[in-house]
């Protein structure tokens, strides 16, 4: 049973992917997420589009057209300085949140 994406976590996951893997196109990001989650995420690849545009409008990523190794054209997203800062903050927030939830569940 695939799990639905927790509200607001997709942005964090995309930023993290871009930070660790360098510039990626939407397909690359989606593939990476699927791979990491070992297909437990209920993720149609199109689902990441709203998150991509949201992040870009925040100024956390910058998109530019380029070529893949297979010589296909694709839009590559790269993380910006503001994006790195946002990633740090979001990660911290997520850790706190996860900690709280974990504690509650342990009781």
């Amino acid at each position: 049973m695939p799990i639905p994406i927790l509200q607001g976590t997709l942005d964090l996951m995309i930023l993290r992917t871009l930070a660790s893997m360098g510039p990626q196109h939407a397909y690359g990001i989606a593939s990476r997420l699927q791979q990491v989650s070992e297909d437990t995420l209920n993720l149609n690849q199109g689902t990441i589009y709203p998150a991509l545009v949201r992040i870009e409008q925040h100024g956390w990523t910058r998109g530019s057209w380029g070529k893949t190794e297979s010589n296909r054209e694709a839009k590559y997203y790269s993380i910006t300085k503001a994006g790195l800062k946002a990633l740090e903050a979001e990660t911290e927030r997520w850790r706190q949140m996860a900690g709280v939830v974990e504690k509650l569940l342990m009781e």
Binding site: N44, Q45, G46, Y49, P50, V53, R72
Partner: protein, 884 residues
């Protein structure tokens, strides 16, 4: 920051949407290709790989839509859609659109115009700093006379120390003669203590103003002058190099150092000079104060009252005998008085007008919306939510009102020009500028949008009702839902009631104006000139000298070509303003309620005014010159106080004449009663709306003030004689000027009628517009119901109903609505009459007025209903039955 950036990006997307859309399509396509490549690499045939890619991707269109919703400001985009759609629908039904837009334009235009007056007069009347705290000090004596309190320069210092006072300056208005040009010209100068300009703090537009540092109090100041904008235009032809030029006033040379802005008209001055240091005894000066922030006028009045009483011990002649009180009034209160009420009343009237227009548009939309049921039902069926439909209808209404608002601002621009012309003189300060400025435009923009939302609300709620679906399914759009009809009837009743209220207001104020305009005055203002003249400063100070001087002036004026007679008078200005005093009748018991107006007149006064002599005789010139203790009384006086008995040789004594105080001078033996020698007819003396008061006439020399009012009867147009009379007066004394000159008819028009005229013209216009709107509302309601019931009428006529019966049927329901509205309007008018009376002196309770306006209303509404109803009688049964 990131969020702000995001909003900007979304806003930008509104403009560059096409590019984003292309980009998205490209990106999705590339994504699908990459996916398919992958599947192929894993060994799928190309065709299958493409399909697998699509499956893995999910819904392409959903993903695109999610992207769109995320990247753009959804509501802005939808609003743009609604606007486009609204424009299309509105342009399709141009009749409705034009009516609605005009309706709203009239309402918004009228309220913008009145608001601009309100803003100019009540909110921002003065260019001076903290003008709402600038105040004058008034002295009210026990007879109800009030005058501004004057202070010696030394006392002004004491005033400044008062806790409630932030600062103070002294001033005096002096008429001077300028001898720069060919002809001597009278110039209105205002002398200010050195800090005057710093106090008022309105920057000059040219040069500079003088300061307390260069003109300290009590020291002879430099000969500098600051001139008003108007004087700059008039006297210096607006020359930019006016600074440094010289100005000759009363044979003294001043250098112009600055020009103040057009709104700076303090004291109606043309030239502002530093207050000179005078030799001799100090003179009391008019004093202006600024209250400390947070100090109320009553707190200030209490403190200053104590101060004045204390100062009074040192120089008792500055205070009147007997009791008095001190009142501090801000310059706003002092000048505006009851006009404030008038403006608020007019504002209430335009608000009503706007409300009527708003309801009218609602009614029109409701009537029209019925034919849109299908369209709206369809939209609902296709998945438009209720909110979405409400928004669509509100957008349409706002589109109408904003268009109306733009037109309305144009109307307001014209209306303001009319208002400025009919605005009563002297009802507002000269500093006031009435125009369409930014705050006024903001007001009308806000009103436009609010009006649209208000007008669209009822129709929007009705037509977005989910029950519409049922109607759609029934396929019959002609089912009248009774609830909707009820809402519309209620709106009609409200609209009619408000219209009747406005009509009643208009009727009442017109009646008041006509009453004033046609009132019999008791004297003849035609070919009569009124001159108000102050005697030259410092000359003719004794009673004997002054009475001789006035007599000489009179003789000189009489000898002027074109003049047939001339007379002086003091103590009132018929038809209003009267020196009301309690009167002793020696031999009769004292009675404080026995009061009469006292006017002091010279021998020819009755001849000049054409007031008939009923018994006895008038004064002679010699008697007036001597200050004889003789009197004439009015017919009303004899009837009221002497029960009609022969008054000749009775004695009368107006109580206030026993004590007069400077600068007035009294004839010898002020305690001696006056012997009645004649009776004259009644003259209006307490205003045009008040009953005539008993009147006593005494010789003009009984008390002579520091100036005179002179009445001149001329052979032709009195306005033409102004110049030669002013010249004649100057021949008696070189420095004698005529301060104000009016043809008596102009004087009446300016002071006696203008207020009533102003209100009645504006109310008249408002009520005509309201009546027109109500007529449109009735017309469209009847037209709509006729259209709805065409089949019904067809059947009835096929079954043998006559045209008259059908007509009656059509009018019956609307007659109820109109009748109830009329009654409600009349009750409203009667209920609000007292409030209305307080501000206009008119009564909306007057049966004549109410029946007249009811008749006008019934006539107009009959016409508005009959025209569309006639169509019902022309229905051809065969066609009507075939129609759906």
């Amino acid at each position: 920051m990131a969020y702000l950036r995001r909003i900007i990006a979304r806003l930008r997307n509104l403009v560059s949407n096409k590019q984003a859309e292309n980009d998205l399509a490209r990106e999705v396509a590339s994504h699908l290709t990459l996916l398919a490549d992958d599947f192929e690499r894993r060994g799928m045939p190309p065709e299958e790989a493409r399909l697998a890619a699509k499956r893995a991707y999910g819904g392409v269109e959903q993903a695109k839509q999610a992207h769109r919703d995320e990247r753009s400001l959804l509501w802005v985009e939808q609003t743009i859609q609604d606007l486009r759609y609204g424009l299309r629908t509105l342009s399709k039904s141009s009749g409705f659109t034009v009516t609605a837009v005009l309706t709203l334009a009239l309402g918004i235009g009228a309220s913008t115009a009145i608001f601009s007056v309100l803003y100019g007069v009540l909110i921002d009347p003065y260019p001076y700093r903290d003008a709402n705290r600038i105040a004058m000090i008034y002295l009210n004596d026990k007879h109800g006379f009030n005058s501004t309190m004057r202070f010696l320069m030394a006392d002004v210092q004491e005033l400044r120390k008062a806790r409630s006072v932030a600062s103070a300056f002294a001033q005096q208005s002096v008429e001077m003669t300028s001898t720069d040009g060919d002809l001597p010209v009278t110039v209105q100068t205002v002398e200010l203590s050195g800090n005057g300009f710093q106090f008022l703090d309105a920057p000059p537009i040219l040069g500079r103003t003088f300061t307390a540092q260069e003109a300290p109090e009590g020291v002879a100041p430099p000969d500098v002058a600051v001139i008003s904008y108007l004087f700059w235009k008039k006297h210096f032809a607006q020359a930019p190099n006016v600074l440094g030029k010289s100005l000759d006033l009363n044979h003294h040379r001043y250098i112009v150092i600055g020009v103040v802005g057009p709104r700076f008209t303090w004291g109606d001055g043309e030239v502002y000079l530093p207050l000179p240091a005078i030799a001799g005894p100090p003179r009391p000066l008019s004093t202006v104060i600024r209250l400390n922030p947070g100090v109320t006028v009553s707190q200030a009045s209490a403190e200053i009252s104590g101060l004045v009483r204390q100062l009074g011990h040192n120089h008792p002649d500055m205070l009147p005998p007997g009791s008095f009180d001190i009142e501090v009034k801000t310059i706003n209160d002092g000048l505006l008085g009851e006009f404030k009420g008038t403006l608020l009343l007019l504002f209430a009237a335009v608000a009503l007008l706007l409300l009527i227009g708003c309801v009218n548009v609602s009614i029109l939309m409701l009537a029209r919306g019925t034919s849109r049921q299908h369209e709206l039902g369809l939209r609902a069926a296709l998945g438009a939510g209720r909110l979405r439909i409400i928004r669509q209808l509100l957008t349409e209404a706002t589109l109408l009102s904003v268009t109306g608002g733009v037109l309305g601002i144009g109307l307001a621009y014209l209306a303001i020009r009319l208002i400025v012309v009919i605005l009563p003189d002297h009802s507002i300060p000269n500093e006031v500028v009435i125009r369409l400025n930014i705050p006024v435009l903001l007001f009308s923009a806000a009103v436009s949008i609010a009006t649209g939302l208000a007008a669209g609300l009822a129709p929007a709620l009705q037509f977005s009702n989910p029950r519409l679906n049922a109607i759609l399914q029934s396929g019959d759009s002609r089912t009248t839902t009774s609830r909707r009809a009820k809402v519309r009837s209620a709106m009609m009743v409200g609209q009619i009631a408000l219209t009747v209220l406005l009509l009643a207001g208009a009727g009442a104020s017109m009646r008041t104006f006509l009453e004033a305009y046609t009132a019999s005055l008791g004297f003849d203002p035609h070919n009569s000139l009124l001159i108000l003249a102050n005697f030259p400063e410092g000359a003719h100070t004794t009673w004997a000298a002054r009475s001789q001087y006035v007599d000489a002036l009179n003789e000189k004026i009489k000898a002027t070509p074109g003049v047939t007679a001339a007379a002086e008078f003091y103590g009132g200005m018929p038809p209003m303003g009267v020196w009301n005093q309690s009167v002793d009748l020696p031999g009769a018991p004292p009675d404080a309620s026995r009061r009469a107006g006292v006017l002091m007149v010279s021998a020819d006064y009755f001849a000049v005014q054409r007031i008939p002599l009923l018994a006895g005789r008038v004064f002679t010139r010699a008697e007036v010159l001597r200050g004889s203790h003789l009197a004439l009384v009015s017919e009303g006086f004899v009837k009221r106080y002497l029960s009609g008995a022969n008054p000749i040789d009775r004695m009368v004594m107006p109580s206030d004449l026993r004590h007069t105080f400077p600068p007035a001078v009294a004839a010898p033996n002020p305690e001696q009663p006056y012997q009645v020698v004649g009776v004259v007819a009644d003259v209006r003396n307490g205003g045009l709306h008040e009953p005539i008061e008993p009147q006593i006439y005494l010789p003009s020399t009984a008390v002579i003030f520091s100036g005179s009012s002179i009445l001149v009867r001329t052979a032709g147009d009195p306005r033409l004689a102004t110049h030669s009379i002013a010249n004649a007066m100057r021949q008696v004394d070189q420095s004698q000027t005529a301060n104000q000159t009016y043809a008596y008819e102009d004087f009446l028009s300016t002071f006696a009628w203008s207020h009533d005229r102003f209100i009645s013209i504006l109310f008249g216009i408002f009520s005509v517009v309201a009546l027109g709107l109500a007529a449109i509302g009735l017309f469209s309601t009847v037209a709509y119901s006729v259209e709805q019931r065409t089949r019904d009428f067809g059947i009835r006529m096929a079954l043998g109903a006559t045209r008259g019966q059908v007509l009656r049927l059509t009018l019956a329901s609307v007659a109820w609505t109109a009748g109830i509205g009329l009654l409600a309007g009349i009750s409203l008018s009667i209920g609000l009459s007292d409030t209305f009376h307080k501000w206009t002196q008119s009564s909306m309770r007057d049966a004549g007025v109410l029946s007249l306006i009811s008749a006008v209303f019934v006539l107009v509404s009959l016409l508005a209903c009959y025209l569309p109803a006639r169509r019902a009688t022309q229905v051809d049964p065969a066609i009507a039955l075939r129609s759906n």
